[in-house]
């Protein structure tokens, strides 16, 4: 790539687009937004194609000193690359999903989305801890606006909750960052990732970061902002919220908590496991009784994110890679599920499950795609989510079989609430004339859902494309965690074993 500052360009394109959108009418604003996001997608593909697997840990680095050790430093490793790809892939889809649904203040709306893209790419690319902080916290402002301005009936309450929870975490995290920079004498993330903080300090730092990341994740019991935010957000807002913003928490754990505070991470493993186990069971059961489609999927997200956290805190390669794969897979699948809700919401303007039914009759193509995403959500092998869940659960099993057992019950509960949702919306008889009269997918909707469907299957059948860029980075992290990692509860004790030559003739004699 030579010295071409591709990451900066990826930030600049949507930023310029956002500024342009503020001054444009609805139609040109849509075109500009689409164009900007498509350019970023193209740049993302170039980025991925030029990423040197097995090369340097940090690639495409750029740095410009600002003041007082606070640098404008960008650079990515494989983990950041994958999350950037997820963001730039979902963004044009979000613009497409808002094409007809948003009619008021379109310019501002598109500007908010483009700004969010800038900030999301920035979060994943930032190599300076303060730069990260700015992107991390500011990314919530456009989201806050999207819910607050273009949201549903109860948007103020939702935006308020969103704000309150976020505030709780970010203040503590900022203080922790200040202390760290002061202690280590640098604000560079790569350096901090290798810095050994004193164990006592790690405890407090870990807790401060945890407060922020647990909210973003979200982990039980600080998850209650998510269902409200999803329900009130416009479709595209939900897509980006579930698709990318929920991954900030996981990214935070993998970039900060685990490598910077390995001892504290191990020390608090039980806390993460416990909260995750509760989340899997409790939020899955709550999802089962929801009457609102978006709320149901929101609660299911909490349950899925809990598998991410147990994977991360399994302290082994399978757990970490599994967690990353769930983040990517869930980003696609939950995004697609919210789009599926959006498709019928745009037609009937209700999210109430019971108002639908029998859609397989009048919307067969919709039914087929919705089925694919439902199956991906329940982790059917061959889809993206299976790879992630399987690896994450396999990872935690190596450490603690109780946690693995409780979290694996999620596959039963997940199947129950998703199939129950699907049955009520798509199967059965046509109860309401207006729902029965809804037309099948339009070409625009095909273009939104089709690429995600392809990506979901690709990730399920050949996940190597996604695992390979992250492999070296996960290994580095795994090595860093090795000394702190808890011991397996399995305590395999080898017995005498049967002599090999006798093994098959033994049978029947017992």
């Amino acid at each position: 790539m030579g010295g071409f500052p591709i990451l900066s360009v990826m930030l600049l394109v949507p930023l310029l687009g956002a500024i342009a959108c503020l001054f444009l009418d609805a139609k040109p604003a849509r075109m500009v937004a689409l164009l900007a996001t498509l350019i970023d997608l193209a740049l993302g593909i170039v980025l991925w194609a030029n990423y040197d697997i097995g090369g340097a840990q940090w690639q495409f680095t750029e740095s410009a000193g600002l003041f007082a050790g606070f640098d404008y430093a960008l650079g990515i490793d494989g983990i950041a690359l994958m999350l950037i790809m997820l963001s730039v892939f979902l963004m044009p889809i979000c613009i497409g999903a808002s094409w007809e649904a948003i009619t008021k203040r379109v310019g501002e709306y598109m500007a908010a989305f483009l700004l969010m893209e800038v900030l999301m790419i920035g979060v994943f690319a930032a190599q300076d801890i303060f730069l990260f902080y700015i992107f991390f916290e500011a990314g919530l402002i456009p989201m806050y606006l999207i819910i607050g301005v273009w949201g549903g009936q109860n948007r103020i309450y939702a935006a308020y909750k969103f704000f309150l929870y976020t505030l709780l975490g970010s203040v503590l995290m900022l203080i922790a960052m200040l202390w760290m920079v002061n202690e280590a004498g640098t604000s560079s993330i790569p350096v901090l990732m290798e810095y050994d903080f004193a164990p006592e300090a790690q405890t407090w730092l870990w807790l401060a970061f945890f407060a922020s990341f647990a909210v973003k994740m979200p982990m039980w019991p600080v998850h209650t902002w998510l269902p409200d935010a999803h329900v009130q957000a416009p479709t595209a807002g939900s897509v980006i919220l579930a698709g990318v913003l929920l991954k900030l928490g996981g990214y935070g754990f993998i970039r900060f908590s685990l490598p910077m505070f390995p001892d504290a991470s191990a020390e608090f493993g039980w806390l993460v496991w416990g909260l995750s186990m509760i989340a899997v069971v409790v939020t899955s059961l709550i999802a089962l009784v929801q009457a609102d489609m978006k709320k149901l999927i929101a609660y299911s997200s909490v349950a899925h994110m809990a598998i991410v956290t147990v994977g991360l805190f399994a302290f082994n390669v399978q757990g970490l890679e599994g967690a990353m794969m769930i983040m990517l897979g869930h980003g696609l699948v939950s995004g697609a599920l919210f789009l599926c809700v959006g498709v019928i919401y745009d037609r009937l303007h209700t999210r109430e499950i019971d108002r639908y039914g029998g859609l397989a009759i009048n919307m067969p193509a919709y039914a087929a795609l919705f089925m694919l995403f439902t199956m991906a959500s329940v982790g059917l092998p061959g889809t993206s989510n299976f790879v992630g869940e399987f690896l994450a659960l396999a990872g935690i099993y190596q450490v603690n079989s109780w946690v693995a057992f409780v979290c694996t019950t999620g596959i039963i509960l997940g199947a129950a609430y998703m199939l129950y949702l699907y049955r009520r919306v798509v199967f059965g008889i046509q109860k309401n004339a207006d729902a029965a009269a809804m037309p099948d997918l339009s070409m625009r909707e095909y273009l939104l859902l089709g690429p995600i469907a392809a990506a979901v299957l690709w990730m399920g059948v050949y996940p190597e494309s996604f695992l390979a860029p992250m492999r070296a980075d996960i290994e580095i992290l795994d090595t860093r965690l090795a000394t702190a990692a808890p011991e397996s509860d399995a305590q395999l004790a080898i017995g005498e074993g049967a002599p090999i030559e006798e093994d098959l003739s033994h049978g029947g004699a017992h």
Partner: protein, 685 residues
């Protein structure tokens, strides 16, 4: 050996084209494509199987694509072909091809035919992936894939609430088993550091006697691993406790019941135990559990089978019971016998189901045997097919003459080998013998109620509907019922004056596309045992290491006392006699017996109240807990004391409510900015 690629992927390709392009290419093209793909796969499978029977084939593994590599854990897409796979290949592709053909007639005029055929082919693909798996994860892929296809096909008539409920139940109950399977895979990886089946099997004996902690308790490693995997097998193969989905699965179209819920998918559990037999051999305690569960299921399902009126449910419980035989055969270490019963069962059970479908077709979708009777002369071809199927399942055969129907060879072998094995096997022998009596009874009961006696059709609502409306109106819930409209019956004049119980209805034989599969399967039900008994039971070279073949045990099987060898025949004749007595000789005997038995009869008739129990202890509490966690937990506690509590405090303090939105945003940005300023200041000093 690359024909395996075509065998496995032709059905997938056909399924994709028929499923996505069915509306464009039309029903006929979709049907030709899927059925053609299956006959092609079938045509390629038999030579592979026969080359193993001939003994001149070797196991092979064909790598297809990299799948996952994560640290030490790697598993790839690959197609394994050995004897065990070859047996499954012919079973799956043969029954599937015939069921595809049969569905031309059965599903004729269904508006969603191409979708149906696409699902059938998709199922076949997933099942083939399962049996060709060379690692546990690909097996799990096939395992879940067939579960998906089963879910889609049970719920094929998606307007029917009962079909939807049955579909979800099947998927969710199977997931309970899959929980065990998944934990089993994780545990296997923990112990062996691989998911490759051959590597695990090679390493298993060395792990015998080791111990491990699982969920806080100390276990024998092999025992806990095998038990976890066996829970998966119990779910898929509908064994006692996880069987409740199978009878409900009969909501699906009958060809589906024949293919998925009798011949192939439900046998996946048996296949898994046989595939992993060296692993199970290292875990005697787990094998004892397999034997006990198998025997218990075998008996329990047979008792229920004797009381049901729905023709498909009788056969469904029969399937459940026969799977029990396969499991306890595996449990005593006779994997060859288990696979042999799987093989013969596939033919005769598919035959029985398809025959039942033909009866249902003739009786205008009436499934209640109380409204059948006297059909022998009306649908003679179906009758003879069902007859062969019944003779096969009840196991008619004479040991000393070396002659018998397919089921005789395999069931007799299982009973003999259980007896020979001793220990738990002896108990399984007696249970199996009694269940064989019940098998004979319910099978002949089905035959007598359906084909003998006087017609009782007039009482059936379906028949009345047919006669009075001349089949003009398709039944809302069941689009397939249109298939027989238009021809002979449509001209029937309603004639309430008929005193012969027919109600003026004229059943008619099914079309050729349905009869040909019945004919071919009949051949299988008659000869499959005779032809292949030697290979399956007595030939270690046939199995060639693909299962843990115990030559000593298989030899001992032939040395059991003569009375053991004749047990199967004797109990079969007793069952036949009892059925004749109750349903032909004195037809009020069943009613009287039922009245006398009272509560016991009700207990059995209501399927041992498993559904009610599970509803009470799992389903209802799940919804109840969900509501509690939501209303009392999230809203009543977390929100109340969390965000709402803070809001309340804030509101009390400063009437902050106005222009909340912009207010929060500004303050938020302000805090961030202040923080940064503080940060910079701190760093500067």
């Amino acid at each position: 050996m690359n024909s395996i690629l075509i065998i496995v992927f032709a059905p997938l390709l056909a399924a994709i084209i028929a499923g996505l392009g069915g509306r464009i290419i039309g029903h006929t093209a979709a049907k030709v494509l899927t059925t053609g793909a299956l006959f092609l796969a079938c045509g390629l499978s038999w030579p592979i199987f026969l080359s193993f029977v001939g003994g001149d084939a070797q196991a092979s593994v064909l790598p297809v694509l990299k799948w996952v590599q994560s640290g030490d854990m790697t598993f790839d897409w690959a197609l394994r072909v050995d004897t065990l796979t070859a047996v499954m290949l012919v079973v799956i592709t043969s029954v599937s091809a015939l069921v595809h053909l049969y569905s031309w007639g059965y599903m004729d005029e269904d508006p969603d035919q191409s979708r149906f055929f696409a699902y059938l082919s998709l199922f076949t693909f997933a099942m083939l992936m399962l049996v060709t798996a060379n690692n546990l994860v690909q097996m799990f892929f096939g395992w879940e894939g067939v579960g998906l296809a089963s879910y889609l096909l049970i719920g094929f008539w998606y307007k029917k609430p009962s079909a939807n409920a049955a579909a979800i139940k099947a998927f969710v109950v199977n997931r309970v088993g899959d929980l065990g399977f998944m934990l089993g895979i994780f545990g296997t990886f923990l112990v062996f550091q691989t998911t490759s089946i051959p590597e695990i099997l090679a390493a298993a004996p060395a792990m015998q006697g080791s111990t491990i902690t699982f969920m806080g308790a100390r276990w024998d490693t092999m025992t806990i691993l095998c038990l976890l995997l066996f829970i998966g097998a119990m779910g898929k193969s509908a064994q006692l406790g996880l069987h409740t989905w199978l009878p409900d699965a009969m909501e699906g179209p009958t060809p589906v019941s024949a293919l998925i819920h009798a011949a192939t998918m439900v046998t996946a559990g048996v296949f898994m135990v046989c595939r992993l037999s060296p692993l199970f051999e290292a875990a005697p305690a787990a094998l004892a559990v397999v034997t006990i569960i198998g025997a218990a299921t075998c008996l329990f399902a047979a008792t229920i089978g004797t009381t049901q009126w729905d023709i498909k449910r009788v056969i469904a419980y029969s399937t459940c019971s026969q799977l029990g035989y396969m499991f306890f055969a595996a449990g005593v270490g006779a994997y060859g016998a288990a696979m042999f019963h799987l093989f013969t069962h596939a033919f005769f059970k598919a035959l029985l189901f398809l025959g039942a479908g033909s009866v249902i077709h003739a009786m205008h979708h009436e499934q209640d045997m109380r409204y059948y009777g006297g059909l022998r002369k009306k649908i003679p071809f179906t009758f003879w097919a069902m007859m062969f199927g019944t003779l096969a399942i009840t196991g008619l055969g004479i040991y000393d003459l070396h002659i018998g129907f397919a089921g005789f060879w395999s069931k007799d072998a299982i009973l003999e080998v259980s007896y020979a094995a001793g220990g738990h096997g002896t108990g399984a022998f007696w249970v199996g013998a009694f269940a064989a009596l019940l098998t004979s009874f319910y099978s002949w009961r089905l035959m007598f109620l359906t084909f003998w006696g006087k017609p009782r059709w007039i009482e059936s609502e379906h028949i009345q509907h047919a006669v009075h409306h001349g089949h003009d109106e398709p039944e809302e819930a069941n689009p397939a019922s249109q298939e027989d409209s238009g021809h002979d019956v449509a001209h029937t004049v309603p004639d309430p004056a008929h005193g012969d119980g027919t109600g003026g209805y004229h059943p008619h034989e099914s079309p050729l596309t349905m009869l040909v599969p019945l004919g071919i399967l009949s051949i299988g039900a008659i000869f499959a045992g005779q032809f292949f008994a030697g290979s399956f039971l007595d030939s270690a070279s046939f199995w060639n290491g693909s299962i843990a073949y115990n030559a000593e045990l298989m030899h001992a099987m032939h040395e059991v006392p003569k009375w053991v060898k004749y047990t199967a025949l004797v109990v079969m004749l007793i069952g036949l006699f009892l059925a004749w007595l109750a349903y032909i000789r004195s037809t009020d005997l069943p009613r009287k017996t039922a009245e006398q038995l009272g509560p016991i009869y009700n207990f059995v008739f209501n399927k041992w109240y498993f559904d009610e129990l599970y509803n009470l202890i799992f389903v209802k509490p799940a919804f109840w807990l969900g509501r509690i966690f939501w209303k009392k937990g999230d809203e009543g506690t977390i929100d109340r004391f969390g965000p709402n509590g803070v809001a309340w405090v804030v509101e009390r303090g400063s009437h902050y409510a106005k222009s909340v939105q912009s207010g929060y945003l500004t303050s938020y940005a302000l805090i961030m900015l202040l923080g940064l300023v503080a940060a910079i200041t701190w760093v500067l000093f």
